[in-house]
Subunit: 255 residues, 3 copies
Amino acid sequence: MNEHHSTLLAPMIDPQAKIGNNVRIGYAVRIYANVEIGDDCQIGDMSVIGWPSSKQPFKDRPVHIGAGSIIRSHAVIYEGSAFGPNLETGHHVIIREGTKAGTNLRIGNHSDIEGDCEIGDYVRCHGYVHIGRGSRIGHFVWLFSLVTLTNDPLPPSFLHVPVTVGDGAVLAVGVTPMPGTVIGKGSFIAAGEHPSGNIPPGRVFARGAVSVPITRLANLQYGIQHPWMNHFIEAYPPEAHNRIRALAAEISGKQ
Amino acid sequence: MNEHHSTLLAPMIDPQAKIGNNVRIGYAVRIYANVEIGDDCQIGDMSVIGWPSSKQPFKDRPVHIGAGSIIRSHAVIYEGSAFGPNLETGHHVIIREGTKAGTNLRIGNHSDIEGDCEIGDYVRCHGYVHIGRGSRIGHFVWLFSLVTLTNDPLPPSFLHVPVTVGDGAVLAVGVTPMPGTVIGKGSFIAAGEHPSGNIPPGRVFARGAVSVPITRLANLQYGIQHPWMNHFIEAYPPEAHNRIRALAAEISGKQ
Amino acid sequence: MNEHHSTLLAPMIDPQAKIGNNVRIGYAVRIYANVEIGDDCQIGDMSVIGWPSSKQPFKDRPVHIGAGSIIRSHAVIYEGSAFGPNLETGHHVIIREGTKAGTNLRIGNHSDIEGDCEIGDYVRCHGYVHIGRGSRIGHFVWLFSLVTLTNDPLPPSFLHVPVTVGDGAVLAVGVTPMPGTVIGKGSFIAAGEHPSGNIPPGRVFARGAVSVPITRLANLQYGIQHPWMNHFIEAYPPEAHNRIRALAAEISGKQ
């Protein structure tokens, strides 16, 4: 066990890391040797900066975090990338090797940039955004929650056909461009769409399908009936049972 | 470097935090000054409780965690919120400032409550649930995996039109209510729907579209052919190659 | 406060854990007593291995990590599971109790295996994959980003009807098999589909719906007009305003 304890007590900030002035580093942060952090940055608790890459040509190359950046807790940023000033990440963000990003990139909670991407200035990503390897993203682009940029046209394969997003384009919640999609400048892709091919600039893309009421709750059956309160009351503590029964009665009466 | 080391060795539990009796705190947890934790709680390893907010009026206000709560590892909970008793979170959960939640809220792994929300009693959220800022959620509501409550009707904008979910409503996997949607008491929204407007109480909403077989694997082409085993065998270690070839032969024979 | 500090300073690697030769353990890792780690493994920073389960029959049973495995940072793996050699996980992965997996399982960033699952050899999962409790997954299966295997046919209920995925099947981005779906060997389910029932082997499933241009940006209204640059410029720092105005003019001219 001694071997493990010695590993664990190694310095969490490698003395070779280049850290600027007025940098605030949180609790239990690990910073590897290859890291360059500009002035006036904040690195959140439990983050890992400079995680080693196994991919050439990024392996053993530095990661540069521009001045004025804020990286929130539980982030993981690999070596071999460069971020302009004022990068701002949410919590639990992962950014892999080989990413080049401009100024003022913002990335929301739980997002994942898979590496080898080029990202312009002032790009905004909400949460759970997945930017596939090799994506090309212009300036002032918006990627809302759960947007996924794919890159394999016939998965799984060794083909690699990433997505290009033009300046100022907006991809609403859950948009998943198919591999090779080129989205024109300023186009707006509606929630949940799977665009493909060349999307011209300045357009709105959507299928327009809408939900409609298809049946009454009482007709939904699978050995049991909705409203769910009738068969699922035991999932709640006893003190909540009377309230659940009253709610079931109210909903059943409304159908 | 001394400056950073002194930061890192600062106490991880701020002595100003108010921590009740019989509270079990895991390894490498950070608790900020503004935190109030009721009796009999568990705080999981590597969590951060009381993360500072920059938003008024929540900045510098306490976060209260009700008695009997269980917060699993790698959670981040901001200052400026109040949770009733028996809050239970999965791992890697994020809850931002200004949330008011009743008793017995459960939130699954990797979920994200974006703040300024009101949440009733006995609400259940599965994993990757995203509750947009300002959402209003009743009692006994169910939000299944990947449910996303939006709030910007023409993104990006400064407009803010959050979603309201009535008591006992059920949003199945991946449901994404559009901004301003009001979901009636006890309604059931089927998997993947994007409801909008006013959904009356006690209804089932779905489009009902189903997948159908569209072609044979051999007709899928992109310079390569499926089954994928034929062109992707090198992604596996050599000892697996014979098994992959046999599987490819079997699947090809079945088409 | 003394009580909490003593908890916090407890050993992070329980001396009862069985750890093989040449195992590299990162910074701030917690390893519980019930853990068995084979030779030549790597355990990433801030991970938790052996998280206690409250579910029978998995409670207090060991978790076995096969030789040659790589677990990346911020992972959580419960007690009561067994993984063959060469398990490889991304960052922020969660695996609950009762999972039995073969050799060479790979699981991407932010994925979640909910437990009591059987997973064959050489299975590959990308990010945000959610494998519902009780799923049965064959050998050489591919689950791409955001694939969600469900198990409750009329949620919420106590019913439990998990999904079965045959050898070599491919579920593209966002595929969400409904409860009880049986996917035949080698079938390919296209992005975003919600298959159900019995999918025969060696087929391609898709609805084939595609996005089409539905209107011009200028027709999208909600009190404001697109392109968004016209009404949202204040969200950017002043030095970016001229570039945004130029982009707005260019996009407006293109419609």
